[in-house]
């Protein structure tokens, strides 16, 4: 049912962590919205109209104007509905939040996606890369910018918690599907503790899909990706960014890539 007061519509996909980010911030701010589930192998004309450049979810429609790219959407929502802010007020803190959001999407996310799309020696190398990236975040939690904080945003969830957190549930799924250990609590105790705190939040529990649905989905995609890998000569490490995968697998890789 469309909420005419806030005038918000969200085009998303149930397995997309990028979509979850937007759903979570809307929930935190107590904003009603109309949700449209997109079938990514059969995108609606509306989606293609509102996001002609990338043709991806999520797309936020507010007062009939589209906003795309999840980190951009998150900031738009924060700047438009200013109660319960997710960005810090101080310019330096804001710069730090943005820096680490981009790190999550440009480095950590693709690294996790590469783990999902590879096997054998290639996968070992991909796992090592994820660990390198997690080490950097762990360092900031232990002795850097985020030292002593319950969440990256401080006492309450902020934009970086949302960006890193939505999609981190895939880590547990991947551990199970591929028998890799991405977030070893001994190697990354603070990150591990933060993740548990994040996932315990009521709003987060309401957004994250059921684990068996995620497992089933991931198993299916993994089988398909390995099948594609055998058929093609494309190196596994590019699986996260190749355009030869179908929309379904790119959703999971995208979802994985949102960690």
């Amino acid at each position: 049912m469309e909420n005419t007061l806030a005038g918000i519509k969200l085009f998303g996909s149930w397995a997309s962590s990028y979509t979850h980010r937007v759903q979570l911030v809307l929930k935190l701010k107590g904003l009603d919205f109309e949700y449209v589930e997109e079938e990514l192998t059969n995108k609606s004309p509306s989606l293609l109209l509102y996001n002609p450049v990338y043709k991806k979810v999520p797309v936020l429609l507010h007062l009939d104007r589209p906003i795309v790219e999840s980190v951009i959407i998150l900031q738009y929502i924060d700047e438009t509905w200013t109660d319960r802010p997710i960005m810090p007020a101080d310019p330096y803190e804001r710069a730090l939040a943005r820096f680490w959001c981009y790190f999550a999407d440009d480095k950590l996310g693709p690294a996790v996606g590469a783990v999902f799309g590879s096997a054998g020696e290639d996968q070992k190398a991909a796992v090592a890369q994820v660990h390198e990236n997690l080490k950097l975040v762990e360092t900031e939690l232990r002795e850097g910018a985020f030292k002593g904080r319950r969440f990256f945003g401080g006492d309450a969830i902020g934009i970086l918690d949302i960006v890193l957190g939505c999609g981190s549930y895939w880590l547990a799924v991947f551990d199970e599907v591929m028998e890799v250990k991405l977030v070893d609590p001994e190697a990354f105790p603070l990150f591990h503790a933060w993740l548990r705190e994040f996932e315990e939040q009521e709003e987060v529990k309401e957004i994250i899909p059921a684990i068996d649905r995620l497992l089933e989905y991931a198993r299916g995609i993994r089988q398909m990706m390995l099948g594609l890998k055998d058929a093609s000569t494309t190196p596994a490490t590019t699986a996260a960014t190749t355009t030869t995968t179908t929309d379904n697998s790119s959703v999971v890789v995208e979802s994985a890539g949102s960690v």
Partner: protein, 225 residues
């Protein structure tokens, strides 16, 4: 300490450092420029940017910020009472950020593909680059700059293109930007290169060209190894 506490770690070869210099100078901010030898990075740089170990890094009152787009937004917010670089309206701001990201993802990576490929693959990369520029052109509409009458955030983020794409065209011997196909982008390039600030901060072309030729050689020899 105020404005005196502004230090920029950079290198003349880096278009990303230029973005920060444009932002600082448009805002009239005084800063100390620290030149980094990229083959022998200083301990300070590695301390200030342990994640990427790259220039530019802005240090303001002792606190470091890395990543050029992050730095430029920081400059806009920390010095907010003169020459806004981003619009204040949230929707226009979101649109601005979108096109800046598009430039980074499509045009920047696309230009590297153009520079580092050969034969059919290179021609394909040129074609994709032209399509990206055509898409970007739509955002210019009737304006002189992406920021309107004056240089704004997207101009700053895209500002490497006028000179760097020209240099790439010369190195590879293929024209990427044809005036008939990309009239608005071509006009923007002329206006941008004609801007006093751009003229004053233009790096020495021979040095940059030599650097880009070296990049191309390295990639090609790695491929054939």
């Amino acid at each position: 300490m105020g404005e005196e506490g502004v230090k920029l770690y950079g290198n003349i070869l880096s278009p990303f450092v230029l973005r920060v210099e444009w932002a600082l100078q448009l805002k009239g901010i005084k800063y100390e420029y620290v030149n980094e030898d990229l083959s022998n990075k200083s301990p300070q740089l590695l301390q200030y940017n342990p994640v990427h170990k790259m220039v530019p890094v802005l240090v303001h009152n002792g606190r470091p910020i890395a990543e050029s787009a992050v730095i430029v937004e920081y400059i806009d917010e920390a010095w907010s009472d003169f020459y806004p670089l981003l619009p204040s309206n949230p929707y226009q701001k979101a649109t601005t950020r979108f096109w800046a990201k598009f430039v980074e993802e499509k045009c920047l990576h696309g230009s590297f593909d153009v520079l580092s490929r050969v034969g059919e693959e290179q021609l394909q990369a040129v074609k994709e680059m032209q399509e990206s520029l055509k898409t970007l052109e739509g955002h210019l509409e009737e304006n002189k700059f992406f920021g309107g009458e004056t240089i704004g955030f997207v101009d700053i983020i895209a500002g490497w293109m006028p000179s760097w794409l020209g240099m790439i065209e010369e190195i590879i011997g293929i024209k990427i930007i044809n005036e008939e196909d990309l009239p608005l982008i071509s006009a923007w390039i002329k206006d941008f290169l004609d801007h006093n600030l751009v003229k004053e901060t233009m790096p020495p072309q021979e040095k940059v060209m030599a650097h880009m030729r070296a990049i191309r050689e390295n990639v090609l020899s790695a491929m054939s190894a």
